[in-house]
Amino acid sequence: MAIKNLNNSAFLFFLVIILALVFHWFTTKSYKTNKKDVLNEITNESSIMPFAELNDIINSERIKDFIFVDIRTEEEFEEGHIEGSVNVPFNDILSKKSKKVFKKDKTKVIIANKESDAHVARTTLVGNGFENILVLSGNYSMVIKHVIEKFNPAYGYYSEDKAKFDYPRYIRIGSSVSSSDAASTTKETKITVSGGC
């Protein structure tokens, strides 16, 4: 009797796992890279291309190894774009056309109207298993103005995600907690203006 029960429960255990696996295979696969790897990839310093590097590349042979992917809308792309760039509108980032572009063996560089859109597109694509994607820091109009028309070294490391203000000069934070607070200690130290860009 006992062995029969054991056999039955072992069989049940087996069946549950097999059914779960089958169910697992038939459900839609959403991501190809787990979120920790995505986070590592997008926080990697070298996954961002500054203007200085872009300028080096477009003036050298290395340009063959790169594809510039413009994720602005089709209308904007038609009005003007960087020579040789491909248009994949932000809203079509998950489409088949986009997959074709990002599957290519070259290094893909995303250009957008807003740097954050480029980051969002890249984070999505990395999650979907695409590799070798860089984000161009800054935005399209900045690229045109400071790299394509004439390279301006002052903007060589421009990024929208860099502080433009010296924050503590504007917002003095009254410490209600204690003076050991980090923010209040910085108040007394003299801070040189960092100058965003």
Binding site: K35, V120, S159, Y167, G174
Partner: protein, 409 residues
Amino acid sequence: MAPFIPQGLVNPELNLFFALIIGFGFGYILEQAGFSSSKKLAGVFYGYDFVVLRVFFTAGITAMTGLVFMSYLGWVDMDLIYINPTYLWSAIVGGVIMGFGFILGGFCPGTSVVAAVIGKIDAMVFILGAFLGIFIFGHFYSDFEPIYKGSYLGQPFIYDSLGMSKKWFAFFLAFMALMAFIFTKIIEDKTNKVDYKKFDDRPNYTMPSFLLMVLMTIYLFLPAERASSLHERSPETVLEMYNSQEYHVDAVEVAYRIIREEAECVFIDVRDAESANRFMMPGAINIPLKNLLDNQYRSILRDKNQKKLFYSDGESNAANAWMIAARAGYSNIHILKGGLNGFFDAVFNIEESIPEDQNGDFMALYRHRFLNEVKNFFLEGKAVRELRPQQKPVKTIIEISIPEGSGGC
């Protein structure tokens, strides 16, 4: 309840309640397996009864099979499961003491409780001894500490030390368990001097063993683990959320919250610690983007009733943090539109006087007036560090899941 409580599926306050239920179950199974008899327990050492070994191996193999598959299917996040850290010296010394205690007393800690509950006097004496040991250890803890905490190895895994893959290790462990079952049976028969061939009615375990090996073989050849788990949002959903702009918060709203010192919103500064040390928004906490998925921040992100606002200098890193958090299934998450640059632009780069051409546009007028108010508020240094006077202590996962004293069986 390791995966359920840290994942927020079960209220941490129920922890002890579930521990009680599991404890009852564990005790019942120990009793039913005959572990309340010290004769049976000591049999392992004398070779006449290996039931202890078989029960624990079976339990281990069953748990392992369940865990590897559930982890594969994304039902259980292995990172959330607490693993006892290894202190080499305390493991060695503790093992020796435990072995002697086992053979002298006839119980191990768990089984002694089971035996005491069914009224065995020797087990009660055993427990008294255990308490005496605890008392001595506690009293002279400072003397024992170097041994107790000596040679800390972290949380090593056997398969890593052996240089094996997790899959192969699971396979071999299952195989080894089955082999151990057969060999211990042979040893038992030899010691007890029985001829097993005479027992035709001896239970036949071929079928469960076969199924186990089939499962382990399947596990061996499964493709790489799926990258996403069940509770994650799909890329389509995440992008749709992002595009809806519902999760972008405007500078005016943020300013409003700050000057009213409202408690509803927690600012999450995703810049690195250095920048955050120099300046953070009033009431902000710093979670560098790199560390967003660290266990210690999970409880903050998981709180559905707490509005969370990511910000960075611009919008890029905040958007990245938002993307990851949205994918991970967290809700009530937002992005500060334009980041700190946008906020400071809006608040500090406004004209003192009302622009002429905005006559009649009351919204613009009010907005302008309000932002001026905000500007003065900040310039006068009225913003306080802490928005919430009584901040709830944040319960970290570590507080929840460290069980005190592991106690072998």
